[in-house]
Symmetry: none
Subunit: 180 residues, 4 copies
DNA sequence: AATGAATGAGTCTTCATTCAT
DNA sequence: TATGAATGAAGACTCATTCAT
């Protein structure tokens, strides 16, 4: 049922997706949908929470393997992490871009948590970084990672090695930060 | 009237904006609004077209000044270009993220045109680039520029010099491409 | 189960009371509720029937003690009868005011039966009354008794001796009828 | 439109009346109904307010003619007042018995105002009444008047002179209060 | 050309009722 | 027999769009 919602939100956006369509796609009756999620907004929130959990778990695997990695390896891990979450993210962003209250609230804490974890990672690789430097770098890394889904989609279409290019860019950026 | 639509789309998203609200904000009657734009979708398309025109005109000023510029100067020009269009872009993206058919269709041509112009620019700076290399680089530059509005917003909040960081990153990237 | 229904109907009205809420309050499953009452309307009817039975039984005690009573004593008995049924009546009235078909039908027979019994009582006290006179008087007595629950509620709030006032009024009325 | 609502509320009760049915009965589209009354509750409130206004205006005519009237004449005026408002009252009571928040709040002030006006009337006829006595009497008079619509309905059916009986009862009661 | 009241299709949501376990 | 998840008809309400003035 969450999957049906995720697919439709990602495809058509939050408002253009009807609860009826979600139920239908999930092969359930509209009443059943409402037994699990008391409102459309609640469904979106559940969707976002699932995405947040998966993102956290996925990033934990990055953190596990990070110690001792080179910048290039770290870039690789991060890009793999980002690519793995593509479908979940699209649904989450659909709800976000429709300014659903319960989700807008959840965004900042999630983003801040991810940034903090990246900052910690960077400082473990270069203890001389100040928190401000590490934070700024984590914001930049987040933004570079934001390219990845779009580049991957473009790559499929154009055949150009775009994700690799992002990988290189990210590695360069991490190297610059870590070697300061 | 377009301005009223742009402001509201940017603020609340496409679906959450009602035609009545647009008319009211424009100080016009709903009937008058429909005399200019036969449907909400048509209004969104007009909005997108205006954005596309303005973006093209703005980028023309980048092209004008580009010849003889250093990578850093070019990065600067491009980022200025991006920042200048912020409000128009938000409205255009609101309609895009709601998957309005007439606009989704317009997206690719616009993006491709921008990419082509960036590719031309790059090849004028480094004629040894192949079209594929120049195209890939233009995609990457487009993605780096996509960071800018988000970073600018973040910068206001955090006080960290994020846009400068993007400027540096973009300059580095352009330099790498141009100096190959 | 009937008690749960009575309490909720009285408290929130017929339509605002859900079968689920009744089952929950009765500590039963919704399925079990439907094993006893095949529909919400059937439950309301059972509730009304229980009220009708209790009202009949309660009035029988008035009839028992009526012979030889003075008008004041009879008024007292009747008002006591009315006050004793308050909670049951509220539920019955909730269903009535929602115009539940099965109950609207039951109303008139019940009312007519009560009126007839009051008329009999009056004629036993004053055999010279015609049936029309006795019937009209019984209607009036029924209406005077209808004041009682409202006055009792008001009395709690205002502290004024309203029920006593009704008792006096009823006694006067009975006296007038009986002494004709 | 208010009339359509009044008729249906009175006939079927608040919850059993659908907005669609009201619109249909008023010969309007559902959307038009919502242009006048933003919600079903708002419609009920407007209905109640109209009833309150009419009741106040109607009672003002009682007050006008009251000075110098005998108890019997006053009873007559009041009963006429009550009978004149029958249809409006039924709709108002339907909404009341469904515990519509916005209306329940309006009830007490209205009732208190009516009682106060009756109390003033009584004290003008018998200045030796204390306020408590006058208030208690006004409550009783309100209750006696509450009989009237029911008796009128009954009278149509049974042919018995029930409203006259109430008139007599009310006159007696007023006389008792005024002659104390 | 300008207006804005009227329209009704389409949306979210509730809840009486059923039925497989 | 008891359970409660599943069902879907029905209701309140919104809003893009039309059209008489």
């Amino acid at each position: 049922m969450l999957d049906a919602g995720a697919a439709l939100f990602a495809d058509r956006g939050y408002h253009a997706t009807t609860m009826t369509a979600i139920a239908e796609r999930a092969g359930a009756a509209i009443g059943s949908l409402y037994q699990f999620f008391p409102s459309k907004e609640a469904l979106a929130e559940a969707l976002f929470d699932r995405f947040a959990e998966r993102a956290a778990a996925s990033f934990a695997r990055v953190e596990e393997r990070a110690p001792g990695s080179s910048p290039a390896e770290l870039a690789d891990l991060m890009i793999g992490h980002k690519l793995g979450l593509r479908s979940d993210r699209e649904a989450a962003e659909a709800a976000l871009s429709s300014a659903i209250a319960g989700i807008v609230e959840r965004r900042k804490p999630l983003r801040d948590a991810v940034r903090a974890r990246i900052a910690v990672l960077l400082r473990s690789m270069n203890p001389s970084l100040t928190w401000d430097e590490a934070t700024a770098a984590s914001v930049m890394i987040g933004q570079i990672l934001r390219m990845v889904p779009a580049l991957a989609a473009d790559e499929e279409e154009s055949g150009l090695p775009l994700v690799d290019e992002a990988r290189t860019l990210l590695a360069l950026y991490i190297e610059r930060v870590v070697r300061t």
